[in-house]
Amino acid sequence: MDLKDRLTELKAKALSEIDTVEDLKKINEIRVNLLGKKGPITEVLRGMKDLSKEERPVVGSLANKVRDELTEAITQRREKLEIIKTARKLEKEKIDVTLPGVPVKAGQPHIIMQVIDQLEKLFLGMGYQVVDGPEVEEDHYNFEMMNLPKDHPARDMQDTFYITEQILMRTQTSPVQARTMEKHDFTKGPLKMISPGKVYRRDTDDATHSHQFHQVEGLVIDKHITMADLKGTLQIIARTVFGDEREIRLRPSYFPFTEPSVEVDVSCFKCEGKGCAVCKHTGWIEVLGAGMVHPNVLTMAGVDSEIYGGFAFGLGPDRFAMLKYGVDDIREFYLNDVRFLSQFAQKG
């Protein structure tokens, strides 16, 4: 058999062997056997020394061609086997994706704090500052500066925890406003503030009363502040907390530190105003008190009430949270039952 025939035969046999091999190790063996220094192709090439000058390049080129073809076939077969091998391996690594994930340990703000945070964000965005003040206050700031002299009948509206005759647990956060007004330099611009915080009343704790609760009070003092500005501001509060569809209405009321004074109702978010248990079938829910700052309050704080005026409002985050989430017992807020607190995981 001449060398050309041997090469052709060798090629056919090798190709069939490559095509049927199933093992990556084997294909490596085949490569070494076929193309290695002791392999049949090398042998053919070695035998070329016996050929004529004319035949040598022909056989040589054929031998190279066969070697290239076989090399290519082996590479392709190997790639194919590697793909299969990977696929088998991945198949073995399959897991049950329906098993539960590892829980992430995360706490959250108290529900009342969530309400306060929401309001703070709103008012910071409108250029208000957040101002803190003492919880143990002087009668002077808590009452007298709020236009509530010692034997004013309206003092009955708030039962007070006194510490001494002059020192008390603040019953409202408005003393913070009095303190801030006193210090504010109005030549440097208007005063726009909210004062969030804890307040205390001498009340027996029950489902709707708590001796400790929270308030957020707001105050704006400038040269041209109108009651219409108050109404617009209250509308924004109502819509931020209770939803964009809410309407508000103002009703006359009485607070010694504002004149005019109003109660603010928001249209019921449960029944859209049709009437339900939450709104006591009126379609409206009382949510906060507000008014135009009483001239006496300005004067006592050293602000010229002929030039400056403004509005104030006060709301209760506890009540907001009760309304919004249907909590029917205010004491829940201060018992800190983990099963209660964890229901209010914050949304965004």
């Binding site: 003492p134 009948p153 001494t164 647990m169 726009k192 001796h211 040269k223 109108t226 009703r251 983990v338």
Partner: protein, 802 residues
């Protein structure tokens, strides 16, 4: 104030359904508590006439009555009331009727006798105990003789009147009267009021000076008037008067007392009637009580009088507490014949004090406290005197006895249309504003947009321009105000640094797995003074409500342990709570405490539960410490050290550390002492409390940027066998101190105690990291440094390097 719409119609022409009226009042004047009608849910309750009453043969307290209810046949009704009698007009609930409380009455048998319905007391058809006349308190009610059998009882009893209950704010004392309310509605609906004036007939042959002399201190009683009505027969009042009283929530008594109450409701003017014959010395003085004086008031209470109490006194001493309650002795009885009737204005703050000190919050006191209409004191007195004379067949003696009589003038307030519009944000015309003032019944003069408004005395709440602005706003209607936002100079809205640190602290702890708790700031004296971080005095309430809430907290942990106990008691054993809030430290020489921001946490139970994926992880000291470390790192606090501490008696002495920044104590962490846990009934609990104010005072930049080295680091691991009493911090500090600058980090990665190493020893394994930000480190440089430190460690701590 319970307002009957029927009574209102005497004074103002209103044809509006009561719900609509209530809504209008609420939107324009004061809040409305309720709109009600006593007959609302009742059915088939009629007038009956007891034709015959005989004893039930089988019972000693029941009677069998034959009752005419306007039908052909008499009804047989068994009745258990003690005052049942024949020939009386009674209230009958027919078979299949409905009485109060939605109770249905059916034909029944009582001890063998058929009972076709029920004869009712006033309470059974919905009257409150507090208004039922004493004579009928324990039995059935007798209707007037002219009541027609078979007719519904409602109109005879005033049960068909709509009652609007007003929740009057302290400023609107004018609406504590029917006349004041009529004025208000006239303004709201732009109507005129039609108020009756008294038509007094006096006995001109007899003068009050023949009866009595009165003196009054003007400071105590700016106005004090007295009239005398003689030959009065004290008896039951006519139905029209009784109905008005009980519909307003007042119990009818007799024709004299009822008239004073009626005038109280009508004018808002409290009156007091004395039995003239009981006044010693025919002399009355209005003065302050003297030391040691006492008075038995109408409620039969013997009261020690205070030197701040205004009293009405005769020659023998006090006979009434002015404006709050009369004396029992001088009160009207069935035998009274001559009535001395008082109408006055008393000093409101004195009345307020008396009402508060004696806990006597009467209808009269409330009106004196809030302010009454000084213009109508005499008119109300005349009206009352005339009515008592009419109802008691008596005669009014001519003239007043005057102790004091203040001159009443309208208050004049000036305001401009511009001011009103500037404050309200409106564009009201002069004429519109003038119209509103006129509707309110105010006198008004207008000149080029400037108003001179004279306010009648009934509206004592109005004295400055802002008060007039409120009147304009509410009558104009708050719904008609535009809604805008403050314009004017822009202001930046931004947290202060302190506020930002507090809020960051909260979110760092929340991301560490802690839930925010808000506990009570007031606690018991004992709990307030536990877990203290500095010496301070407690701040106590003067007059606490309960022994659980007497003192303001000086630590946050106590409150958190209350929370843990609440959870543990409800089988919630895994609790991780934190609280951010203030503690209140008082210095011995100060009444007011310093308020210091703290943050604390309490953790108990499992940090994470056993799952298919992980072993359960118990909360322990190091879980808690990890959270503190994370918090302080995030807040940019550096130079922190933890030192074992036994100085907190509420803490486990072997598992507590004080936390320092440099030399400054900022808080502590550890396990709650088992005695305390036992007291609370809670499991092993780990707590920490930090003085957040001190951290704020460091004024750290919250994030410090460190450039990342371009060169690789080299690490060396070493395990050291050391004596058990040597602390990790000792080793780490020593390594840091002895190493060259190339040492960038030392980290403990294993602790071993056990048999392999001997009971006196423990093994601590560290990884030392070396780096140089300017060049690649050579191995031999690192080795030299490492070996040097190791040999020093051996010398210092006698460690064995393993």
């Amino acid at each position: 104030m319970k307002v009957s719409t029927k009574w209102l119609k005497d004074y103002i022409d209103l044809d509006i359904n009561p719900e609509e009226l209530a809504e209008k009042i609420e939107r324009t004047a004061v809040e409305v508590d309720s709109v009600s009608r006593l007959d609302k849910k009742l059915k088939k309750i009629v007038v009956g006439f007891t034709v015959e009453v005989r004893k039930h043969p089988e019972s000693d307290h029941l009677n069998i009555c034959k009752v005419d209810v306007g039908e052909d046949d008499l009804l047989q009704i068994v009745c258990g009331a003690p005052n049942i009698a024949a020939n009386k007009k009674v209230i009958v609930a027919l078979p299949n009727s409905r009485i109060a409380g939605n109770v249905k009455i059916k034909r029944s048998k009582m001890r063998g006798e058929v009972s076709e319905g029920m004869i009712c007391s006033l309470q059974e058809i919905g009257f409150s105990d507090s208004v039922v006349p004493k004579a009928y308190a324990d039995g059935i009610y007798f209707l007037p003789d002219n009541a027609k059998p078979g007719e519904p009882v409602y109109s005879y009893l005033g049960m068909d009147e709509d009652i609007i209950d007003l929740d009057v704010t302290p400023n609107r004392a004018d609406m504590l009267s029917m006349r004041g309310t009529a004025h208000e509605l006239a303004a709201i609906y732009d109507k005129k009021v039609n108020l009756k004036k008294p038509e007094l007939k006096e006995d001109s042959t007899d003068n009050v000076s023949n009866y009595i002399q009165v003196t009054a201190d003007k400071e105590l009683a700016p106005t004090y008037l007295l009239r005398v009505i003689k030959d009065v027969h004290v008896k039951e009042s006519p139905m029209w008067l009784q109905k008005r009283l009980w519909n307003a929530g007042i119990r009818p008594m007799n024709n004299v007392v009822d008239v004073t109450n009626y005038i109280l409701l009508d004018y808002g003017q409290p009156l007091h009637s004395f039995d003239y014959q009981k006044i010693a010395g025919k002399r009355i003085e209005v003065r302050l009580a003297k030391p040691g004086e006492t008075l038995q008031t109408l409620d039969e209470e013997e009261r020690e009088l205070l030197s701040s109490d205004i009293v009405i006194a005769d020659n023998n001493g006090p006979i009434a507490l002015a404006g709050t309650m009369g004396g029992l002795n001088s009160g009207i009885s069935a035998n009274s014949q001559i009535i001395a009737l008082e109408a006055a204005v008393f000093n409101s703050s004195a009345i307020r004090k008396t009402a508060r000190k004696h806990n006597l919050h009467s209808e009269a006191a409330m009106r004196f406290e809030r302010g009454i209409n000084r213009e109508t004191v005499a008119e109300a007195l005349d009206m009352a005197a005339q009515l008592i004379a009419e109802l008691g067949n008596g005669e009014v003696v001519s003239g007043f006895a005057v102790g004091a009589q203040a001159n009443v003038q309208s208050v004049v307030v000036t305001i401009t249309a511009k001011k009103i519009n500037d404050v309200l944000g409106t564009g009201l015309q002069d004429a519109e504003i003038k119209d509103i003032f006129e509707r309110l019944g105010f006198g008004v003069e207008e000149k080029a947009g400037a108003f001179k408004v004279s306010v009648p005395a009934r509206r004592w709440d109005i004295s400055i321009p802002a008060d007039l602005i409120e009147e304009v706003a509410r009558i104009y209607g708050y719904d008609n105000l535009p809604a805008t936002l403050p314009s004017g100079e822009l202001t930046p809205g931004k947290y202060t640094y302190k506020q930002q640190v507090i809020r960051d602290t909260r979110s760092i702890l929340e991301e560490s797995g802690l839930m925010q708790a808000i506990s009570y700031g007031l606690t018991s004296d004992k709990k307030a003074q536990r877990f203290m971080m500095e010496d301070a005095q407690p701040t106590k309430l003067d007059f606490p409500m309960s022994s659980d809430r007497t003192t303001i907290r000086m630590n946050l942990i106590s409150g958190l342990l209350d929370d843990v106990a609440y959870n543990n008691a409800r089988k919630v054993s895994d609790v991780m709570l934190y609280e951010q809030g203030r503690v209140f430290y008082r210095d011995a020489n100060s009444d007011r405490p310093r308020e210091v921001e703290h943050v604390a946490a309490a953790m108990t139970g499992l940090y994470s539960a056993q799952s298919w994926h992980d072993e359960k992880k118990q909360i322990d000291f190091y879980v808690a410490k990890g959270i503190v470390e994370h918090l302080l790192t995030k807040l940019g606090v550096t130079g922190i050290s933890y030192e074992a501490s036994q100085r907190h008696e509420e803490m486990h002495p072997g598992r507590t550390a004080d936390i320092f920044v440099g030399n400054l104590f900022i808080g502590f962490i550890g396990e709650v002492h088992p005695n305390i846990s036992k007291e609370y009934g809670i499991g092993r609990t780990y707590v920490f409390e930090l003085d957040l104010q001190k951290i704020i005072d460091f004024n750290n930049e919250l994030i410090v940027y460190q450039p990342v080295s371009k060169y690789p680091v080299i690490t060396r691991d070493v395990a050291l066998a050391v004596s058990k009493d040597i602390e990790n911090a000792d080793i780490i500090n020593f390594i840091k101190a002895q190493s060259g600058k190339i040492l960038s980090k030392v980290q403990l990665f294993d602790v071993y105690e056990g048999a392999k190493i001997g009971i006196e020893q423990k093994s601590l394994a560290y990884e030392l990291t070396y780096s140089d930000s300017s060049k690649t480190l050579a191995d031999d440089v690192v080795n030299a440094d490492f070996e040097k430190v190791m040999s020093k460690l051996k010398e210092k701590f006698n460690v064995e390097i393993r």
